[in-house]
């Protein structure tokens, strides 16, 4: 079976048409809410400001990371540094052993997908519970998330009903509220019995050493406060310089992601439980993870993508993403931001296929709350793929041949004549491009006369 985006996208459309319906419906809904929520504020100015703060941060990231580390330590957190997935896994392995962990509850974290936390924990015999409802659904289904914010948006109600019926024994025709209640019963027990909670972080404020988490379900607050140990996985780009920056970023994140004014729950975590406090974890470990980010930071054309606050707005706006959902991309991050980040984080060679999972419609650039120049970056990956010889020789030959023809008007005119020699030519198998076009659209139908013929015959004399 062929792998890669192209084959997976085709398979998704042919074999899982219900995914297209579910994803289109959900993303149009989110994008509509985003548009309305942007309309309530001076979104252009907010986005300019937020983009400026993130670019400033990225220019001085080393200093802000040190400031954040000092603040977190002062609050009693333990700070770890992980260069890659293997480092994260080693740190987690040690923490699981040190604290005698047999059950882990998790808040939604894309970074934990990136560094493959669940497979590691399971290999250690630890029971893992995803506690975000969407994440819980896909964990039951044995699938990765298909969207940064809505990990299960590719699943319609019927599919979730059948899944819960099979795995949790709910009635085959259970209402959504019954389904949520069934998940809640399992997860409540997990929250109360887990020794460790693992979360991501939406932001870490350098100035105050504060881990900031935004959510709508309350599961992250439980994950980070009920178990004895809280581990926060943080990409090094997730910092904000000052506490005051949250005023804009918390609102912009919620507006961009779901159209809310602010997330239902916002947790500001300043260290583990202190003397005399009634609740909270005994231990807080913050793991700062690089995993390819510093090489993106060093890339002049790509570094702005590290401004990303994982709102998912570009996925919701992307008509390409809408047709297949995230799984077709075969990567942790999908949609426009996934196309831009993945080759930089993992392997530039991935751009040869992912870079073309885009029609360059630029809708993503219009919605990004931190103004990442996504279309230009996607195009830069294409340019690099061509420069590095990662696209087919035939394609390169075709474009060079086309350039040679159109920069010699005599040859262009000759080509124009050839195009009108007959339909056999325009559906010609010797030009694979024309064949591929004809398969979806029928053969090309040139105008009976080219414009330049009409010009010479009718218009030039006037």
């Amino acid at each position: 079976m062929a792998s890669g985006y192209k084959a997976a996208a085709k398979r998704a459309l042919v074999e899982r048409p219900e995914v297209r319906s579910a994803v289109t419906k959900a993303t149009l809904h989110f994008d509509g809410n985003r548009a309305r929520a942007y309309g309530e504020i001076d979104a252009e100015a907010w986005r300019d400001w937020a983009a400026g703060v993130k670019r400033h941060l990225l220019g001085r990231l080393d200093r802000y990371l040190e400031e954040a580390e000092a603040g977190l330590r002062a609050h009693g957190a333990v700070v770890h540094w992980a260069e890659n997935a293997a480092d994260v896994q080693e740190i987690l392995r040690a923490l699981v052993a040190d604290y005698g962990v047999s059950r882990v509850v998790k808040g939604k974290s894309m970074l934990s997908e990136e560094v493959e936390v669940n497979p590691l924990l399971e290999s250690l015999g630890v029971e893992v519970f995803e506690t975000d409802l969407g994440e819980y659904i896909i964990q039951l289904a044995g699938e990765p998330p298909s969207h940064i914010v809505g990990p299960a948006i590719h699943k319609g109600l019927e599919e979730i009903r059948a899944l819960f019926h099979e795995k949790l024994g709910t009635p085959a025709d259970a209402e959504p509220t019954e389904l949520a209640a069934a998940a809640r019963r399992v997860l409540r027990d997990a929250f109360l019995s887990a020794e460790m909670g693992i979360s991501g972080a939406n932001f870490v404020v350098a100035e105050t050493g504060t881990v900031v988490l935004v959510e709508n379900e309350g599961n992250i607050r439980l994950t980070t406060s009920a178990p004895r140990v809280h581990v926060a996985l943080v990409g090094i780009e997730k910092l904000l310089p000052r506490f005051g920056d949250l005023e804009v970023f918390l609102q912009l994140l919620a507006r961009a992601a779901t159209g809310q004014k602010i997330g239902t729950f916002v947790s500001l975590i300043n260290g583990p439980r202190r003397e005399g406090e009634p609740d909270g974890p005994e231990h807080l470990h913050v793991i700062f993870v690089d995993n390819g980010r510093s090489s993106v930071l060093a890339d002049d054309e790509m570094y702005e993508a590290l401004s990303c606050i994982r709102c998912g707005a570009c996925l919701n706006a992307c008509p390409v993403y809408r047709q297949t959902g995230g799984h077709a991309y075969g990567q942790v991050y999908s949609g426009p931001i996934g196309v831009v980040l993945t080759p930089g984080l993992k392997d530039p060679g991935l751009a040869a296929e992912l870079g073309y999972a885009c029609s360059l419609c630029t809708a993503c650039a219009d919605v990004c709350p931190v103004r990442i120049p996504l279309p230009g970056q996607i195009l830069a990956w294409r340019r690099r793929s061509v420069e590095r010889g990662l696209v087919s020789g035939g394609e390169k030959l075709a474009f060079n041949g086309y350039a040679a023809m159109v920069t010699r008007p005599r040859f262009y005119r000759l080509g124009s004549k050839l195009l009108r020699l007959g339909k056999g030519l325009t559906g010609a198998p010797w030009l694979p491009v024309l064949g591929a076009w004809a398969a979806g659209h029928g053969p090309l139908e040139p105008s009976p006369k080219s414009f330049r013929e009409i010009w010479e015959e009718e218009l030039a004399g006037e």
Binding site: K10, Y356, Y402, P409, S447
Partner: protein, 240 residues
Amino acid sequence: MRVAFFVTCLADQFFAEAAADAVRLLRSLGVEVVFPREQTCCGQPAYNAGHWDAARKMALHTQQVFAGYDYVVLPSGSCTTMVRAYTPRLFEGDRPRYEAALDLAGRTYELSEFLVKVLDVGDLGRGLEGMKLAYHHGCHVSRELGIRQEPVSLLEAAGAEIVPWEADNECCGFGGVFAVKNAPVSLAMADRKLDTLPAVDALTSADGACLMHMAGRARTRGLNLKVRHLASLLWEARNG
């Protein structure tokens, strides 16, 4: 006022009558229209596919062909965007050519934009009275150049009704090489457009490539879809 008409390779080959209508329309408004015969392609297909060396050659050719004219007018939104917004990027770090690219960009207009912004024409005539149209906003012309109102207001002023269409500003799925490299997704995007299209007399747009994509898809699905290039409707507005 002397206007160089840049027909674009796509309109030259596939929307030749609409392009001729654009010339007829401009002349009827008193504009002196010339057609520099050496013109060919703006280079956008290569630019968008990442073949920038090839794109530079074509862009340079275009720069030379259109040097010195007061205005350059195109019956194509995305080719206008190539000249205005993208070509300068090809010459970053090459000062003389970058400046030449900006100079050409500053003189280049999409047809409906030229009518409204330069000729200050708001009303071409009532030749489209009673016609029901769907207007597809091409991605580049609408998002990169912000040209949304000009074509619609000219069509409405001519008596056409632009029927509301929930997907009017969504990408049709053409995307140059995208239509070939990821054909199934590209066609699914066209389906979203076609499946939401209201009942109209014709679908129109400033972008011929988008119209070809949607019309071709409609044809293979056996749908009856009439497409009209914006240029021919605007001439009909005046002349119909």
